[in-house]
């Protein structure tokens, strides 16, 4: 697989480490009433879809940026690559 890094262009997937579903960006509020349930679901449950999957890849042997890659889990086709930083900021996370 080749990942089209937004800053560096096409890079071999071997340079990356995989983390998992991009929903891991959305860390629950630890002060909420239902925090215990929310953290259980956040940590352990997954949609695990067959088809388009948004997922986190870390460019470990490259520029060490986190990417959100949209990839088809049936064909391995990659349709979109974003910087995770941009995704998180667009959702109002971080400063």
């Amino acid at each position: 697989m080749m990942i089209d890094h937004p800053l560096l262009g096409l890079r071999d997937a071997q340079e990356f480490t995989y983390l998992g579903d991009a929903s891991l960006i959305d860390r629950p509020d630890w002060q909420a009433e239902d925090a215990q349930d929310a953290f259980h679901d956040y940590l352990y449950l997954r949609d695990n879809p067959a088809g388009a999957h948004r997922e986190l890849w870390f460019h470990e042997t490259g520029d060490r940026s986190w990417l959100v890659v949209t990839r088809n889990t049936l064909t391995h086709e990659i349709t979109k690559v974003e910087l995770a930083r941009d995704v998180a900021r667009a959702r109002g996370r971080s400063k």
Binding site: A13, N48, T73
Partner: protein, 416 residues
């Protein structure tokens, strides 16, 4: 029709005209007491034990394709009971004992071969860990033997003992472990279940569950609605996809594990060898091919094929352990889809929906568990209480903190 040596002679003398199909091809009925979704090893074993041990009448196994076409036909055929943790030991101990009696029980030649599994160690720390695991195995009623370098050399003189970075310091030998002919396991269970009245319905894909007031009443399939008193799902690899139709999210990711087989060779590797310094294991099939594999590809996928970096990694590990592999030609490689659970351990449990039961999350170790998994799942569905050796395999164990992290690596699929 029981199989026997006498029967073979009789058939040979009469032109082999008396053999009958090993199982029927029935039309689905409108209602069953128990419907098993998934005609793989675990599903067929469950049906077999429901019919043979729990006297359940009217059982059906629904299979999307053909039986044994999934992971039971795509694995590297190893069976073993070398576990360390309480939740696992009794279960795999039972499973290995069931493998030992399997062929007599099923009246089917599954080529169970207890050829021994050797886990190599390369450092003092690994030797300590192997000794601890070996002692735990012996306490649990399994067998283990710690070998020094000479002991390993006597068994496998061709290994790379003097590797500068990973010299072989010994190994933990599990003599009762070995291999089983994987397809024959599916076929043997199918034949045994069919002979006891189980309907095995192939080319019948489940497309939905009928749930009313929190109770599962049956399944929608490509061959119409089939009512059921209880429904058991054993579709490891596709668990999330199937259970999602019942509205459940699981602590599972689907990953691909690649496996490889070489051209046929004369007998060279008598048992199973696992490398302690890389993820690589190897055995020789009865046809002569070296069967080996390594790590999962580490990303979510439902494609039954992997990528080249893992192929390269497995072959590098293999050649660093067995330099002679460099002269062997690879015949084929393939990938199987694994239910990777969050702690590397499986589930055999009820679900929040009454009458719906779940068996899955086997990671890359489902094959060796087939007999015990079938028995425990049958026990759970027939009696509504978990089998005593499978009590730890609960779906809600992450909520209560009772994970079974056999490798001690943390709660995330890409760590196992």
């Amino acid at each position: 029709m029981a199989y026997s040596g006498l029967r073979i002679i009789k058939e040979a003398l009469s032109g082999h005209r008396g053999w009958k199909p090993a199982w029927r091809d029935p039309e689905p009925k409108a209602h069953y007491d128990i419907v098993i979704v998934g005609g793989g090893g675990h599903g067929l074993a469950t049906a077999y034990y429901l019919a043979s041990r729990y006297q359940t009448a009217r059982v059906a196994v629904l299979e999307k394709g053909w039986i044994g076409g999934g992971n039971v036909g795509r694995n590297t055929t190893i069976v073993r009971s070398n576990y360390l943790l309480d939740g696992n030991q009794a279960f795999y101990n039972l499973s290995l004992r069931m493998w030992e009696d399997l062929e007599q029980d099923l009246n089917y030649n599954a080529m169970v071969s207890q050829r021994g599994i050797l886990n190599l160690v390369h450092t003092d720390a690994q030797r300590d860990a192997a000794r601890r695991r070996g002692n735990a195995m012996i306490l649990a009623g399994d067998d283990a033997e710690l070998l020094d370098t000479d002991g390993v050399r006597a068994l496998y003189p061709f290994l790379n003992f003097e590797n500068a970075r990973f010299p072989i310091k010994g190994g933990l030998l599990h003599r009762r472990g070995g291999t089983v002919r994987h397809d024959a396991v599916a076929w043997g269970y199918a034949r045994g279940a069919d002979r006891r009245g189980v309907d095995i319905i192939q080319n019948c894909e489940v497309t939905g569950f009928k749930v009313e007031n929190g109770t599962c009443l049956g399944v929608e399939t490509t061959r119409g609605f089939i009512g059921a008193g209880k429904v058991g799902v054993a579709v490891a690899g596709s668990s999330s996809r199937v259970m999602q139709m019942a509205g459940l999210r699981l602590p599972i990711e689907s990953h691909v594990l690649q496996a490889f087989v070489s051209e046929g060779l004369k007998p060279v590797i008598p048992g199973v060898i696992t490398y302690g310094a890389g993820h690589f294991y190897c055995s020789q099939s009865d046809k002569g091919g070296l069967v080996f594999g390594g790590d999962i590809d580490m990303y979510n996928t439902y494609a039954q094929r992997g990528n080249l970096p893992v192929v390269e990694d497995v072959l590098e590990s293999g050649i660093s352990l067995i330099p002679a592999l460099g002269r062997v030609r690879l015949l084929r490689s393939w990938g199987g889809i694994m239910d990777m659970s969050m702690d590397g351990s499986p589930f055999i449990d009820r679900t929040p929906i009454d009458g719906l039961y779940f068996n899955g999350g086997w990671c890359y170790g489902g094959f060796k568990a087939t007999p015990a998994s079938g028995l425990c799942f049958a026990h759970l569905m027939a009696t509504d209480t978990p089998h005593e050796v499978a009590q730890a395999y609960r779906l809600d164990r992450f909520r209560s903190g009772h994970m079974i992290d056999e490798k001690g690596q943390g709660a995330q699929p890409n760590l196992h």
